[in-house]
């Protein structure tokens, strides 16, 4: 006769039991709980009180455009928005095409993204009539991408190429080419010194991670090479770059790159981008090296034994596995890069942080007692936190999915 399962004693379940176990398990714990609760309540209340009653959000609100696109011509705002549309559309497609484990992570990131975009659209609908249709288009395209991919699964093959192409198309839209007042067939050229704010923050970090990728892989392979000249060059490069802070490299690129190039003077944005890419490549190389080292030696040998050329075995066997295992680390690097973009203000570029500092110097902002530095800080902190936190969540999910980090 099997003993039937009985419900646990009442004191083991329910809210009270939970509280006793987690908050008041002994006197010491109870004391900590009470003190902590009081401190938290006081902190949260005073922060909310400040944010709702004391803070002056008018200047932040009035400068939203400046902080989003800086001096990008307002009549051409559809162009950065077009880049957003492309990215959201592809995001939708990726989500529509994903099924398995890692796919679920893409799906949840997509849902989150659409929620965020939807929120912005709602705000735009009521407060920013000039861009409301553009934002509606973003939402529509995001959904359309999802269902299109569902309907035509063959697109999966094209997706990686579409993503790569999207970067070029975005650049094309942002920069524009061929058009001017007399020639309306092209897109009017918008020099990079007008770009800034959030679009620059995004463009800069995405470009950084995209461009540092090949260089980082090359350096990682070079560091693993049996040829001493190449190996030691790569070690030298990686260690020198990692030995000094990013800010010194930005400073170097800004001041000395024109000198190194013999009078050729790239735009400030390119100089900073070069510094970021060269810097990130060293860190990327170390991540990839981790993946390469984690790869069993037998994989390489098996590829050799089958007679694959070094190029083929690298391309087909080694890199796909090595890179897959370091995806979380690469996401981590991207988060770092995204945060580090705030340093380009040191070389006179206007990312979100720099624009916010500039907003604080406007005569109108100066007229507010105490300035609006706190409000700007809260705005920036929320912006960065929002994206970085979501990415780190995705990175952790990936880590679990790929079976890394579990021992």
């Amino acid at each position: 006769m099997l003993q039937p399962a009985l419900p646990p004693p009442v004191r083991e379940t329910g809210t009270l039991a939970w509280m006793r176990r987690n908050l008041f398990s002994n006197l010491w714990n109870a004391l900590i709980s009470v003190v902590a609760l009081v401190v938290i309540a006081w902190g949260v209340l005073s922060l909310l009180n400040w944010m709702v009653f004391a803070a002056n959000w008018d200047r932040v609100w009035a400068n939203l455009r400046l902080m989003s696109i800086f001096r990008y011509p307002i009549e051409l705002v559809w162009r950065p928005m077009a880049s957003v549309m492309i990215v959201i559309f592809l995001f939708g497609m990726s989500a529509g095409l994903s099924k398995d484990g890692t796919g679920r992570i893409v799906r949840s990131a997509y849902n989150w993204m659409m929620g965020f975009v939807g929120f912005i659209t709602l705000v735009a609908l009521f407060a920013f009539p000039s861009v409301r249709f553009l934002w509606i288009a973003v939402v529509v395209l995001g959904v359309a991408g999802f269902w299109l991919a569902r309907a035509v699964p063959v697109l999966a093959k094209a997706l990686p190429w579409l993503w790569i192409a999207s970067w070029f198309v975005s650049l094309f839209f942002l920069l524009g080419v061929g058009g001017n007042g007399n020639n309306p067939t092209g897109l009017e050229f918008v020099p990079p010194n007008l770009w800034g704010g959030i679009i620059l923050t995004f463009f800069f970090s995405v470009t950084g991670i995209v461009l540092c990728f090949p260089l980082g892989i090359a350096l990682a392979l070079g560091r693993q090479s049996k040829l001493p000249a190449i190996k030691y060059f790569c070690i030298f490069y990686i260690e020198i770059i990692r030995g000094a802070p990013l800010i010194t490299w930005l400073f170097t690129a800004s001041l000395l790159l024109p000198l190194f190039l013999g009078g050729i003077r790239p735009e400030a944005i390119i100089r900073a981008q070069v510094a970021i890419v060269l810097f990130a490549a060293a860190y990327m190389a170390e991540n990839v090296r981790g993946g390469l080292q984690a790869l069993p030696k037998g994989q390489r040998e098996a590829a050799h034994a089958l007679g694959l050329t070094p190029w083929d075995s690298m391309r087909l066997i080694i890199l796909p596995q090595a890179l897959r295992s370091v995806i979380p680390a690469i996401v981590g690097l991207f988060i770092g890069l995204f945060k580090d973009t705030s340093l380009i203000t040191i070389v006179g570029l206007f990312d979100l942080f720099a624009v916010a500092l500039k907003v604080a110097t406007q005569p109108e902002s100066k007229l507010i007692a105490g300035g609006i530095v706190r409000e700007l800080f809260i705005f920036m902190a929320i912006f960065y936190w929002f994206f970085c936190f979501r990415m780190s969540v995705a990175s952790r999910q990936l880590e679990q999915e790929l079976g890394l980090g579990t021992r």
């Binding site: 069993p296 037998g298 994989q299 040998e301 098996a302 590829a303 050799h304 034994a305 089958l306 007679g307 694959l308 050329t309 083929d312 087909l316 066997i317 796909p320 596995q321 897959r324």
Partner: protein, 255 residues
């Protein structure tokens, strides 16, 4: 040593692997000492010996997974030198099966098997897949073709690895302790495949601890110790009437 060398002479037929005066060092460690050996077409040579005796290193030298410092290795009339072309040719003509299988975990079984024929032999995809299925059937796992290696048992993985090597249609198969990493209950299925292969006349060099296999299939047994070939002989001769003291003590421990 002269007696040993003479015993190594091919017993007839066409020589496909000829190793002479082979020496190899790992740093200062002399891992292969003056190895002379040749293998005839269709012959199955089983290499046994205690661990660290250089068995694996020897067969890894044959397809240049390890570089040898002195001596000569000729495979199918191609000498293994620093010449890239020769190395490539020899690798094409030899298939290798590893202790740890070394399947590519990110590719399906079918992709694992067709990869080299398509990339190296420049075979058409359909042709390669046809051939792959033929060999997968031969190792008795055609139904697993679309799975990933991680989803297979050890024995199945090792059979896929054998199929992968065979699909290149090599002239020689090298087995580097193919059953050592397997659970005892699945060792049999792998050995069965190897026995069949031997019966079909494949030239094989097998490094193994499976004495039963050596006795049943081996044409010759090579016993190595401390980087040298100690004794060579037919299985009957070797297991029943070993000549060297070292061989006797080894066999007494494992049999």
């Amino acid at each position: 040593m002269d007696s040993v060398v003479s015993a190594l002479a091919p017993t007839g037929g066409q020589t496909i692997i000829d190793i002479s005066g082979l020496n190899k060092w790992f740093g200062d460690f002399h891992v292969l000492r003056n190895i002379n050996m040749s293998v005839n077409k269709g012959e199955v040579v089983v290499v046994i010996g205690p661990s660290g005796s250089g068995k694996s290193t020897l067969i890894r030298c044959v397809n240049r997974l390890e570089e040898h410092q002195q001596g000569k290795i000729v495979v199918d009339d191609i000498e293994l030198t620093d010449d890239v072309r020769n190395i490539d040719k020899i690798r094409r003509e030899t298939g290798m099966v590893f202790q740890q299988f070394n399947l590519f975990p990110h590719l399906t079984v079918l992709d694992n098997v067709t990869l080299a024929p398509i990339r190296v032999r420049k075979m058409k995809k359909s042709e390669a897949e046809q051939k792959a299925m033929y060999y997968l059937e031969k190792v008795k796992i055609p139904e697993q073709a679309s799975k990933f290696p991680g989803q297979l048992s050890g024995g199945q993985q090792q059979r896929v690895a054998i199929a992968r090597a065979l699909t290149m249609e090599p002239k020689v198969m090298l087995f580097d302790e193919p059953t050592s990493a397997l659970d005892p209950e699945v060792v049999g299925e792998v050995l069965e495949v190897m026995v069949n292969l031997a019966k079909e006349g494949m030239t094989m060099i097998v490094v193994t601890h499976e004495m039963g296999f050596a006795r049943e299939v081996g044409d010759r047994v090579v016993f190595m110790d401390a980087g040298q070939i100690v004794e060579v002989g037919t299985p009957e001769h070797f297991f029943v009437n070993p000549q060297e003291e070292r061989t006797k003590s080894f066999l007494s421990k494992i049999l």
